[in-house]
């Protein structure tokens, strides 16, 4: 379909896309001015780099790691110690370059640990990364000298008197600028890496290690190199997190952080370069925004994740890519009415489910037991949970939603299958 499009146009389109993303990232704080939004954006920027670095292993090399936080955390701790060491002698320029120190720390950790972990791929790698992750996390609390014990290591990113082009990095918005700059550079670099022979070789090692070996590549070395480079970028993300929060605690390198980055990357989509970016944005927003709105956010998150695994294992990026294929084949318009038709019942279903979940939480884990007829505040409404009424309404909404979704969803999926068949050339 696109084979006749000259390569240059492709490149120009890509450059446009990169430029647009950068412009959007720069413009966002102009729209969202509050400190909270700014903190959220900063966290997203850091997580984008971290998730992309993780996908260098999972998506590109086929290595499932349960201990990626180790490189992130090492980057963060070393950056923080460096920041404190240079102290007054440094200036804003040195601070701006600190994530590089974090990157080097991550790289070094990759050189040391990767030598052990990348000997084997598959389950062995997954388990050994889990073991090393646990070991490092346990050690973090045993060596308070390096990891600062429970209080962690803190520092001040405003050092020296001068400024770099007017930036001291004190205000959060300047820090955001620094994060965007680093995230952009790191993203471009990681993308460029996918185009290099090493990046291609990593794909080959992922897809068919025997054959890769047979044509003369040392698969172990490819895995090792990819892990080291992935450690580098995770370390950069760690350095950014150190600067952003001005405190690093042992939590940055524990299993929880490793788990979160795995979830992000997978939800976003491991098969596409931009998948982890979407995942990082989505999961961070879910954690912080939905986490702030409802007590039940972990439940929603778990359900959402299971839904993704079962329904869209390629992640959100794969869903987008699918629509793009349809669009390019001129078939997207055919699906639009179906999408719109199915959206309504899904919304009804979600409304019913959310209502049930929120009421259950309010009842079981909420504000305590009032007298029999006291109303409880659920989603901004005063509901009497002791009466049948709200439950019946929520249950009915859910049931209607299920029935409608099944009915309309059946047609949508029939239309979908037909469109797919057309796309693949079985039908016209």
């Amino acid at each position: 379909m696109n084979s006749h499009v000259p390569q240059a146009v492709f490149r120009r389109g890509r450059l446009l896309l990169w430029g647009a993303c950068l412009a959007l990232a720069v413009a966002l704080p102009l729209v969202f001015k509050s400190g909270f939004m700014l903190s959220l954006l900063c966290q997203i920027g850091i997580m984008v780099v971290f998730a992309l670095s993780y996908n260098m292993l999972l998506g590109q090399t086929g290595l499932l790691s349960f201990g990626h936080a180790v490189y992130f955390g090492m980057g963060a701790f070393i950056s923080m110690h460096t920041l404190n060491m240079i102290g007054k002698d440094g200036g804003p320029l040195v601070v701006a370059l600190l994530p590089l120190v974090g990157g080097l720390a991550g790289l070094l950790a990759g050189v040391v640990l990767g030598w052990v972990t990348t000997k084997k791929a598959g389950t062995t790698f997954a388990m050994i990364s889990l073991g090393i992750g646990e070991l490092v996390a346990a050690c973090a609390l045993m060596f308070p000298g390096l990891f600062g014990g429970e209080g962690g290591v803190s520092g001040n990113r405003v050092v020296g008197k001068g400024s770099l082009l007017g930036f001291t990095w004190g205000p959060q918005v300047e820090m955001y600028g620094l994060i965007v700059a680093w995230a952009f550079v790191a993203t471009v670099a990681m993308f460029a890496l996918t185009q290099t022979p090493l990046g291609r070789m990593a794909n080959a090692v992922r897809d068919n290690p025997e054959r890769a070996e047979f044509v003369g590549y040392d698969t172990q070395r490819v895995r090792y190199l990819m892990l080291i480079l992935s450690g580098l970028f995770a370390g950069v993300a760690g350095g950014l997190t150190a600067l952003n929060y001005e405190i690093v605690t042992a939590e940055t390198l524990n299993a929880h952080t490793s788990g979160v980055v795995l979830l992000m990357t997978f939800v976003g989509g491991i098969g596409f370069f931009y998948g982890p970016i979407i995942g990082a944005i989505l999961v961070t927003v879910m954690q912080i925004v939905i986490g702030g709105m409802t007590q039940a956010w972990l439940l929603y998150f778990g359900l959402f994740f299971l839904f993704m695994v079962l329904m869209a294992p390629g992640g959100i990026a794969s869903v987008i890519a699918m629509q793009r294929n349809l669009w390019q084949a001129g078939l997207f318009r055919r699906m639009v009415p179906h999408y719109l038709a199915v959206a309504l019942p899904i919304l009804v279903l979600l409304a019913g489910l959310v209502g049930l979940i929120e009421m259950t939480y309010a009842l079981l884990a909420g504000e305590g037991v009032g007298a029999g007829d006291t109303a409880t505040k659920v989603m901004g409404m005063q509901l009497q949970l002791s009466s049948m009424e709200p439950w019946a309404i929520a249950l009915a909404t859910t049931a209607v939603g299920v029935a409608l979704t099944r009915w309309i969803g059946g047609r949508t999926s029939a239309a979908w299958n037909e469109t797919l068949a057309t796309l693949h050339g079985d039908r016209t």
Binding site: A138, P144, G151, T241, E246, Q295, L298, V369
Partner: protein
């Protein structure tokens, strides 16, 4: 039709007006874990604060006629997330925050509050710490913008070792703790203070174990037993404490355990009978400390929130003191409130307390008590429905647990 529309508009306007007056509230952001593994601790604290604000402040006239309200912000136990939630709270107009679970998050918040106040002197924020006990928070790391309402590890150890000094039955002490800052500090102060007060007491062993990773404490108990210790000193909390005590009972270890955190948040329930006459705790209060009105407060609280038991006396003290400071200062400006809190003496339910000006550490009475069978007399109330409650062995007035501070405070 028109009529109803008008009525509706009036109703909306009315709601907005009420909303407007509700806006004039004094709000304190409670930044602690409300989901995840430590959610139970965070929830108990938040409910305590809400109840205290209602009963002790709002029903008694509030703060200059306004209501005091605590609003939960879930930091998921993470120092980084604490900072994001702090920003969220500041955005929503909060000028006061409180936190307690984990000195890591406390360090992070003090740091962030200091920097925020330095960079935004017109929108300062004040931090009330109700449970993070790392001594450095009121020593090297002390800040004008931070007040601590719990006795720190050093003060608690001073009180415990004073008690040990008089108890001549104690001959051999074994120290066991979680391998992180708190456990290290408990071990350090135990050794230092015992060496001074009871040089005849032998420290027969010292073990640190990774926090939350030990399932079976039997081997540790075997070691304690082999050492011949008659007393075990531990800073453990949560399951690490319950499991330790259970294993001790299983193996028939006769030694007594001096603890910080055996008194609540599920630990009494998990220990059950295995803690009888064996577990001692040091707290600012327990159910069998005679008080004026806390007995009723506790009963109402436990009834209102089934499954959660009232535990944090200091939450009540803090809420009352903060309200008093605001009323005295006739202001809800953080700096004015901070100045009013400094040097405040307050008749709390557990006795007279004093907020020391030099380091913003609250001095309060402490009680050493032992887990014993409910007898209706000395042990009138049991703990968490176990049939066992706390019996006071000694009370320590606020003067007797004071420790010098190395705080050099930068004052605005």
């Amino acid at each position: 039709m028109k009529n109803t529309l008008l009525q509706r508009l009036a109703l909306v306007a009315g709601t907005l007006l009420i909303g407007g007056s509700a806006f004039a509230q004094v709000k304190i952001a409670y930044i602690d874990p409300l989901s995840g593994p430590f959610a139970n601790v965070g929830e108990a604290g938040l409910k305590g604060f809400k109840e205290a604000a209602d009963i002790l402040v709002n029903q008694k006239g509030g703060i200059m006629g306004q209501k005091l309200e605590f609003v939960g912000f879930d930091n998921k136990g993470s120092p980084q997330e604490s900072q994001i939630q702090l920003k969220a709270a500041i955005d929503q107009g909060f000028r006061f925050i409180t936190q307690g679970n984990g000195s890591g998050a406390a360090h992070s918040l003090i740091d962030a509050v200091n920097k925020w106040n330095a960079r935004n002197p017109d929108k300062t924020v004040l931090f009330f710490n109700y449970a993070a006990v790392d001594p450095t928070l009121t020593n090297e790391q002390c800040s004008f913008w931070h007040f601590r309402f719990d006795a720190n590890t050093e003060m608690k150890m001073e009180a415990i070792t004073n008690f040990m000094e008089k108890d001549k039955k104690i001959k051999k002490v074994f120290i066991i703790g979680q391998d992180y800052a708190h456990g290290h500090q408990v071990a350090k102060y135990t050794k230092e203070m015992l060496a001074k007060k009871r040089p005849d007491v032998k420290i027969v062993g010292e073990d640190l174990h990774p926090i939350g990773r030990v399932k079976d404490f039997a081997p540790y108990i075997a070691k304690i037993k082999a050492s011949g210790a008659d007393t075990v000193m531990t800073g453990n909390w949560g399951n690490d404490l319950s499991l330790l005590v259970k294993a001790a009972k299983d193996a028939g270890l006769k030694a007594r355990f001096f603890t910080y955190y055996a008194g609540g948040l599920g630990t009494p329930q998990a220990m059950g009978a295995s803690g009888e006459d064996k577990v001692l705790q040091l707290t600012e209060w327990h159910s069998n400390v005679p008080t004026k009105s806390t007995e009723k407060f506790e009963a109402d609280f436990n009834k209102k929130y089934p499954g959660i038991y009232f535990y944090y006396m200091r939450v009540n003290t803090m809420t009352e003191m903060v309200a008093k400071a605001m009323n005295t200062a006739k202001s809800t400006d953080p700096k004015a409130v901070a100045l009013a809190l400094e040097d405040m003496r307050f008749p709390a339910e557990n006795g007279e307390v004093w907020m020391r000006k030099s380091d913003h550490q609250l001095m309060q009475p402490l009680f050493i008590s032992v887990f014993s069978k409910k007898d209706g007399k000395a042990v009138k109330h049991d703990s968490e429905g176990t049939g066992f409650g706390w019996k006071t062995l000694a009370s320590v007035s606020q003067r007797d647990s004071q420790m010098p501070t190395s705080c050099i405070m930068e004052r605005p």
